[in-house]
Subunit: 333 residues, 2 copies
């Protein structure tokens, strides 16, 4: 569990896209971040006050979060100076970088000397159990996609927001590094050892109030041969009461698999639901989330309407419209 509030380290990010983790925190958990820290030449700005480490300390910040991708997979000298200063001033560090903070001997030494934590959210910090499949109290919803990277995390975060706005009990449960940094907690599922995948999802979504919903962040796709095992573990470990189908309608082939085309929403429905019924015979598909970012407004609206008509399910783009219709569907269950 990463301590909040954060100071978001944007470093020398060349552009806004490089700071998308910081932007995600700013968009979805604005209360978690009090300021941003930028180095000379930084081309990103997530719209938070620029703070020095001293100012952040005075404001009550607990953790410096690296909210930016680094170049060439090395932590530069310029970054290192700030990170070491931060540890010495009593901040924890959190990072989703591919190269781990814990592999940097100087950071480890300073962190230990100052009793600070280094959170590498790419790697598990917990020994997860083997899944036991026992029915848990509370309710759970999971987005499953026709492909990877079709907007499952965005859908889950938007749905969580809509649920809270309606006064419903809801928790976004992160299963990837960006989601973990946004909320400060979660399971880095793609880094979990095979035997413990489903167990880690059970651990992430324990017994809860009967009217509470866990909004589980989806990963991979049943149709993506590289990562389908991870998706399977989410469906069986999460024992969802509700599924949402996610799709990106302009993509020609599966992400990273040029020989594979995307399945239809019908094929996804017919594959996912029987698998979900193994863990939860009452599971239902309650809606469809479409990522229409590559369509114009008219085209997008027409696609959503046609899909809703064809599939007989509430169909939305959470970026254009929010997820209130999906929250409505969950509330009705």
């Amino acid at each position: 569990m990463i301590q909040t509030p954060y100071l978001l380290f944007l470093g020398d990010a060349p552009d806004q896209l490089a700071a998308k983790v910081a932007q995600g925190i700013r968009d979805w958990r604005p209360d978690n971040a009090l300021g941003q820290f930028r180095l000379p030449g930084c081309g990103a700005d997530v719209g938070l006050p620029d703070m020095t480490l001293e100012e952040a300390k005075a404001a009550g910040v607990k953790t410096l979060v690296i909210g930016v991708a680094n170049r060439g997979g090395v932590i530069s000298h310029g970054w290192k100076t700030v990170l070491i200063d931060a540890l010495q001033m009593g901040f924890d560090l959190a990072s989703g970088l591919h190269n781990l903070l814990r592999d940097e001997a100087d950071l480890v030494a300073v962190a230990e000397a100052n009793g600070r934590a280094l959170h590498d959210v790419r790697v598990p910090e917990v020994e997860y159990p083997i899944a036991n499949g026992k029915k848990r109290s509370g309710k759970r919803v999971l987005a499953v996609g026709t492909d990877c990277s079709v907007g499952k995390m965005y859908t889950a975060l938007a749905l969580d927001k809509s649920m809270r706005e309606r006064g419903l009990k809801s928790t976004f449960r992160a299963t990837g590094q960006t989601g973990i940094l946004i909320t400060g907690d979660g399971v880095p599922l793609d880094a979990v050892i095979a035997d413990f995948m489903a167990g880690s999802v059970e651990y992430l979504t324990p017994d809860n109030d009967d009217d509470h919903w866990d909004i589980i962040e989806g990963q991979g796709s049943l149709f993506h041969v590289s990562f389908s095992g991870v998706t399977m573990a989410l469906i069986h470990g999460g024992q969802p009461d509700a599924l949402i189908l996610s799709h990106e309608p302009t993509r020609a082939t599966m992400r990273g698999l040029p020989d594979y085309t995307l399945p239809s929403l019908e094929a996804l429905r017919d594959m996912a639901l029987p698998l979900a019924h193994v863990a939860n015979p009452d599971c239902k598909i309650i809606g469809i989330s479409i990522n229409t970012q590559h369509l114009g407004e008219d085209e997008a609206m027409a696609y959503l309407a046609q899909t809703e008509e064809r599939m007989g399910l509430p169909t939305i783009d959470p970026f254009r419209q929010g997820a209130s219709r999906l929250a409505e569907a969950l509330e009705a269950m």
Copy 2:
């Protein structure tokens, strides 16, 4: 890759069951094992000549394989003495024990001093790639089960034997510790990190002759919520041309999951085949393997005949009958 031939270490195994790994090596790869090594009080005997380490050395043995489960999860003093002697005499060690050889400081020191290898087959020794899903040459068959531990490894080993007896090109591809010790090679799939599961299966079953069959050892079950992700990775990483359905007809509930009943063979067929078609649209189910060990001979034969009639597929118990009818089905493809 573990160097053969082996000397099988039976230690102080209380009974034959405790030595089942050694028995598996003796049954399936008799050429791999030249002798057995037993301590005083050993209650197991796999029918190989008893050898001292000196005799084994003279006979050309390369590796001492721990073919027995240990008690209480510790490597006892009595064992340790033999293992250290073996390393000093130039043998490698191989083990599927839960507690790892590499975690025993004294073994590591002696192995390093003598340039010997410690093979812990429970943990991967390779950095596997992410699966790319590219169509590979050669053919592959995989057994999928209604549950875990219904005889998938036995089926694969028996099928590999039948294939070779017919003069066909065949390789058993181990995905679990017992299989790896039997053949000296394989992927410990349940210990692979989630993102690399399917890639490890691709690595295990590379391009091959067009008329060569990889007989892939199955794991878990699509219907076993603890381990279904591992099964999924085998189906998509293995891109099988043929599936075999495996079942144990007397089991009331899923292994380790008292709240879950077993699916029917029809349900397994209808779930597994569409998933297999994602990676290989030509995949077919070619037969059924039943573990009838808890049925009498007449009952077993009746069950096999009824199942064959009902499912319309060659149905055998490989322990009672061998797997020649499955090999025949593969040859016909």
